[in-house]
Amino acid sequence: MEVTTENPVAQSRLSGLLGPENVIVTTVEQLFAWAQGHSFWPLTSGLACCALEMMACGAGRFDLARFGYEVFRPSPRHADLLIVAGTLTWKMAPPLVRLYEQMPESKWVIAMGSCASGGGPFVDSYSVVQGVDKILPVDVYIPGCPPRPEALMHGMLTLKEKVMAAKRRGGKK
């Protein structure tokens, strides 16, 4: 079957996927990765000012739903993406690790903003964790103080690439 689309990238991907009898050939792993990468369920996990940008991202103007990522979950049991949006203090660190541990596999972590990535403006403080990668495995870092909603979207799309690429390579994540 001939597949036609305006987009040359999509064209090459589709013709790679579709066999002669209009059958899509793939592996279960790749199929799962495709589904996971296109439907992250983020945990509602705002810690400071960056959370406002995360909320703006989900609201109408930027509309994260366009990418399938809008289902913010209030329970870690339902979420597979932890967006650490804000300043993490040592006081808050144990609850955050607990939330991460309560999330089912597979799960990913985005460090949103300079605070989550490396301590941000509070890097010299005694009470602030100098980057969540001190206590959690971070997949994508988003710089900015705060990052604009577009940057968060870019971060999530980058994570999508990472998830799908890892499955194509046969990697663990």
């Binding site: 040592w90 006081k91 660190a93 144990p94 890097v123 010299d124 005694y126 009470s127 100098q130």
Partner: protein, 137 residues
């Protein structure tokens, strides 16, 4: 009550007499300091000065009561039995200055992590570790 003037006075007490003094200020009809606004502390080097800010809804007056304890062994009675508002304030002072409040019903750290910071950030002899200093945590 249209009184807008707020008078503030300062009185010194001692750790031993603190509870009795504050009880008098709260219960004596001439004072009636029925609200505790804040508990905090000041590092004076050799001593730590505990500061209790009182307010009276009846006279609309403020009063600051101070009591000094030894920095090396900072212990003082908890006033949470007189004003429940002291519960959080005393826990904060405990985290930040290392003061032990004897008789506090729930002396868990309030702002510090559960196992404490391991230092007292608002003491003058505490120096910020800087960017690399936290690495050992």
């Amino acid at each position: 009550m249209n009184q807008v003037m707020i008078e503030t006075g300062v009185v010194e007490s001692t750790p031993a007499a603190l509870l009795a003094d504050l009880q008098e200020l709260r219960d004596n009809a001439a004072y009636r300091f029925d609200r505790l606004l804040d508990v905090t502390a000041v590092d004076r080097g050799e001593t730590l000065e505990l500061v209790y800010r009182l307010h009276s809804l009846q006279t609309n007056c403020d009063l600051v009561v101070k009591a000094s304890v030894d920095s090396a062994k900072p212990e003082i009675a908890s006033v949470s039995g007189l004003w429940e508002a002291a519960l959080f304030g005393e826990r904060e002072v405990q985290d930040m200055f290392g003061v032990v409040f004897i008789g506090h019903p729930d002396p868990r750290p309030l702002l510090a992590p559960e196992d404490g910071f391991g230092f007292f950030p608002l003491r003058k002899n505490y120096k910020l570790p800087g960017r690399s200093g936290q690495a050992g945590r």
